[in-house]
């Protein structure tokens, strides 16, 4: 196995950090203007490194493909015995190989897009610095060799997302949005820390991630610890379930799962390139990636928890996406829903398909956001789709890209063939996994049926809301003539990355299917699973083959119907839908969805009323108890002060003034000896020297 891969990964990791630092320090005019090109070029270099590494990996024989690690001891942990330490370093395994080109590639395209979108911003260079730093943090997560390093970069992602979402911090909306994102992530990170602490304590600080048998990797140590306690992964102790759920809480925060999902739609307040990268390659991907990394320690209990969270998010977000009228919010809730798919996939054991969907989704969602950015750009920052309509004629390239990605997210395919968009390959794998998980969970009654029903229903809802947004934006008659007249196609720097992403949205599914899932000799991601869980591939017992067929049948035709319904219904505008939502029942669901199922209100009421209650109690204590004491103390001090004032005035002041007068008199006398002329001082010096010499000589004679 060539070790050049490690070097390439290291370059790809550190290059964005360097360019980011340069751009932060860049205040000169040349670097200010060139920041976009510099960071873009560096990011393209990182992409090249990742691709070379991927092909080097694919070029080696299958039996020689083992994970490469670079471990640098950072903090020794002598308390756990000799040799224990926290390590910094790099892990390069199949999962990393697959993620790196995706992250760097999307980041490069977003950088290019930003050159066009952020043109003329007064903090132009800072934006690119933050964007590169953001990518650096995500690459750090992807390459992390241990949970501790993963956590460091995890927090760095939190920080940089805060900076980026709040990039236009002069406005109220971004201020609140970045604060909300930060706080929601901290709540999730608290869970992460709990899980981390449990593992750290139980495993004696062994937090290395690689699944090779020889190292002190946490999975091997965990197996030993479980064996010593008389447990196994199939019969796990409670602490392991708690630790797994705790770590997954971090993923809930970052990947915006229910109940911490509310920050993600609000993060739309940031610049559109930020939305496109947050929603695809970096931040929300981090949570799913983390779940994939810690997958081998997840117990059946944790699996149930994760898949339930994923299912709730999936369904809820899809309904919200159906009713929103802000184009970016539709996409945001669509991201939530797709993340729900991924997390569901993790929970139900469709490990490879969840990560595959992460990669394919990154491409088409990034493209969708860039298209929406172009539309908003063209429509004078009008984001409400009810004002759009008929923009397709004005922006043909954007429309084509949007259409391709709509098909991709809908999972479009020609039935009974493998000619399909990327979403088809990845999403239907998850659906199949969920169906078989529903079978396994059948003894739970309705719950098992829900795992059957949920993903399939949403597979119909997804094309519907995407068709709706497409039709409202690009088709039909212009509903705002003034806006329509001024609309224009995006500049080259903006449509070029869109086209690249659209091509990847078509191709990534098929390519990934061939290399990552099926593969000729050994599928790449499956190798990763096999390496991490030696001897026990959880997916095996799901008997994928049969359910895959079910899924394909159910969703293979579904997308045509749903997409068609969505487009046809909304080509004339909101007229038809406004009549539908008057129907009782639908009416209720509509109102709920439109108000985001009242989550924000719930959090508001909960935190605000709690805060008010605490404030009232505090105020009462303050007023009666603290103030009373303070006033008492105050009046006492005042009396003492009056007394001491009299003493001070007559006795102390008299003494002080007398001393001062004496000092002044002495000073006046001595003053005359300081003429300030250098020669007088020299004269004094030599006279004194002569006198001292005289004294010495006389005393020497006298003593002789």
């Amino acid at each position: 196995m060539p070790h050049s891969i490690i070097t390439l990964m290291l370059i790809a990791l550190l290059a964005p950090l360097v360019s980011s630092t340069v751009c932060i320090l860049a205040t000169r005019r040349l670097l200010f203007k060139g920041a976009g090109y510099l960071t873009t070029a560096v990011m393209a270099g990182a992409l090249a490194c990742s691709i070379i590494a991927l092909f080097t990996w694919l070029g080696t024989p299958v039996d020689q493909r083992h994970a490469l690690v670079l471990n640098i001891p950072w903090i020794p942990l002598p308390g756990f015995g000799p040799g224990h330490a926290l390590y910094l370093g790099i892990l390069a395994d199949p999962l990393t190989m697959a993620m790196m080109p995706m992250v760097t590639g999307i980041s490069t395209l977003v950088h290019i897009y930003s050159i066009g979108y952020m043109h003329g911003d007064k903090r132009y260079n800072l934006f690119f610095a933050y964007l590169s730093l953001f990518t650096f943090s995500m690459l750090g997560i992807v390459l992390a060799n241990s949970v501790i390093m993963l956590f460091v970069f995890w927090e760095l992602v939190g920080l940089t997302s805060y900076l980026l979402i709040g990039f236009w911090f002069e406005k109220r909306g971004p201020q609140l949005a970045c604060k909300k994102a930060f706080v929601m992530n901290r709540i999730g990170d608290a869970g992460f820390l709990v899980g981390f602490g449990i593992l750290f304590y139980k495993l004696g600080g062994a937090m290395l991630l690689p699944a090779t048998a020889d190292s002190g990797s946490m999975f091997n140590v965990l197996a030993n610890v479980l064996a010593a306690e008389g447990h196994s992964l199939a019969n796990p102790p409670l602490w392991l379930t708690v630790a797994g759920i705790g770590l997954f809480f971090g993923a809930i925060g970052k990947s915006a799962q229910f109940p911490l999902h509310t920050w993600l739609p609000d993060a739309m307040e940031g610049p559109t390139p930020v939305s496109s990268i947050v929603h695809s390659a970096t931040m929300v991907a981090a949570g799913v990636y983390l779940t994939g990394r810690i997958y081998p320690i997840l117990t059946p209990g944790a699996h149930l928890f994760i898949s339930t969270i994923g299912l709730v998010t999936l369904v809820m977000a899809a309904f919200m996406a159906m009713v929103m009228t802000d184009i970016k919010r539709v996409l945001a809730y669509s991201t939530l829903s797709q993340l729900g798919y991924m997390v569901l996939g993790m929970g139900v054991g469709a490990w490879t398909f969840a990560l595959f969907h992460l990669i394919t989704h990154a491409f088409f969602k990034c493209c969708l956001f860039q298209c929406s950015g172009s539309v908003i750009h063209a429509a004078h920052h009008q984001q409400d789709m009810r004002h759009y309509g008929g923009l397709g004629k004005k922006m043909p390239i954007t429309m084509a890209c949007y259409a391709i990605c709509t098909l991709a997210i809908a999972g479009a395919s020609i039935p009974f063939t493998t000619i399909a968009m990327s979403g088809f390959f990845s999403k239907d794998g998850i659906i199949a996994g969920s169906i078989s998980y529903g079978d396994v969970m059948a003894h739970a009654g309705y719950l098992g049926k829900l795992f059957w029903l949920g993903p399939i229903v949403i597979a119909y809802v997804t094309p519907f809301y995407m068709g709706r947004s497409f039709a409202l934006t690009f088709l039909g008659k212009p509903r705002d003539q003034h806006l329509h007249d001024h609309a224009h196609e995006a500049p080259l720097a903006m449509w070029f990355p869109q086209v690249c992403l659209a091509i990847m949205a078509i191709a990534s599914g098929y390519l990934g299917w061939k290399t990552l899932i099926l593969g000729s000799e050994a599928p790449m991601l499956a190798q990763g699973v096999a390496a991490i869980i030696p001897g026990e591939v959880i997916e095996a017992h799901h008997s994928h083959g049969m359910h895959m067929t079910h899924a394909l049948l159910l969703s293979g035709f579904g997308w045509i119907i749903a997409l068609g319904a969505g487009i046809l219904m909304y080509v004339p505008g909101m007229a038809i839908s406004s009549r539908i939502v008057k129907i009782p029942g639908v009416n209720l669901l509509y109102t709920w969805a439109l108000n985001k199922f009242y989550f924000d209100a719930l959090y508001d009421v909960f935190t605000v009323s709690m805060g008010k209650f605490v404030a009232v109690v505090c105020a009462a204590v303050d007023k009666y108890l603290v103030d009373g004491l303070v006033n008492l103390a105050g009046s006492t001090v005042r009396e003492i002060a009056m007394l001491s004032g009299k003493v001070d005035k007559h006795i102390v002041d008299g003494g002080v003034n007398g001393v001062a007068a004496m000092a002044q008199g002495a000073g006046d006398m001595l003053r005359s000896t300081q003429p300030g002329k250098i020669r007088i001082y020299v004269l004094m010096f030599f006279s004194s020297a002569a006198l001292v010499t005289l004294l010495v000589v006389i005393s020497a004679i006298a003593l002789r």
Partner: protein, 186 residues
């Protein structure tokens, strides 16, 4: 005692001429030093100082300290004096400017300096100085004795610490002088 020209070439001749040479050099040194006191013109002072310094170098020669004499000429007469002349040029619109002291100041100053000189002479006369002996005579010196060699060796062994301190001092002076003498932005 008469000295012929032929005798000058011998050691004995030098022995006889040496006192005369000493008196001549001492006279030049002391007279030019006091000429500095009496001179009112800064440029003349500098010239007299040059004479004094050269005379002191001659004294070093006669005290068998040839290296010191050379250093005195190079560093003092060649360096410091030039520095002083530059200072005169830079700080005076008119180099022949006369700044006369008051008469009483001159009396006080000369009186004090005479007092100090008398004191020193008194101290010298009353102090018992040991007889000159065991000086580094030609005969005691080991074969291949070289003063410059010995001083160089000494500076890098016994006197290494003061040597390094002096080096640091020079560095500090260089930076400090450049900093102080720089042109202010105002």
């Amino acid at each position: 005692m008469t000295t012929t020209l032929a005798q000058l070439g011998t050691d004995a001749g030098l022995q006889q001429v040496a006192p005369l040479l000493f008196y001549a050099v001492a006279l030049v040194t002391v007279l030019s030093a006091w000429a500095i006191v009496l001179s009112q013109n800064i440029v003349r002072m500098a010239v007299y100082l040059l004479l004094t310094l050269t005379g002191v170098a001659g004294m070093y020669f006669m005290l068998d300290a040839e290296l010191l004499a050379a250093i005195q000429l190079i560093v003092y007469a060649g360096g410091t004096l030039i520095l002083i002349v530059f200072g005169v040029m830079l700080t005076s619109g008119n180099p022949f400017l006369k700044l006369r002291p008051k008469l009483w100041e001159v009396f006080v100053a000369v009186g004090l300096s005479l007092f100090i000189m008398g004191l020193l002479l008194f101290a010298k006369v009353t102090t018992h100085l040991p007889e000159p002996s065991a000086t580094i005579e030609e005969a005691n010196k080991p074969a291949g004795y070289d003063l410059v060699h010995e001083i160089g060796r000494g500076l890098l062994s016994v006197y290494l610490v003061p040597f390094e301190v002096a080096a640091v001092l020079l560095l500090v002076v260089m930076i400090g002088a450049a900093y102080m003498a720089r042109r202010r932005a105002t």
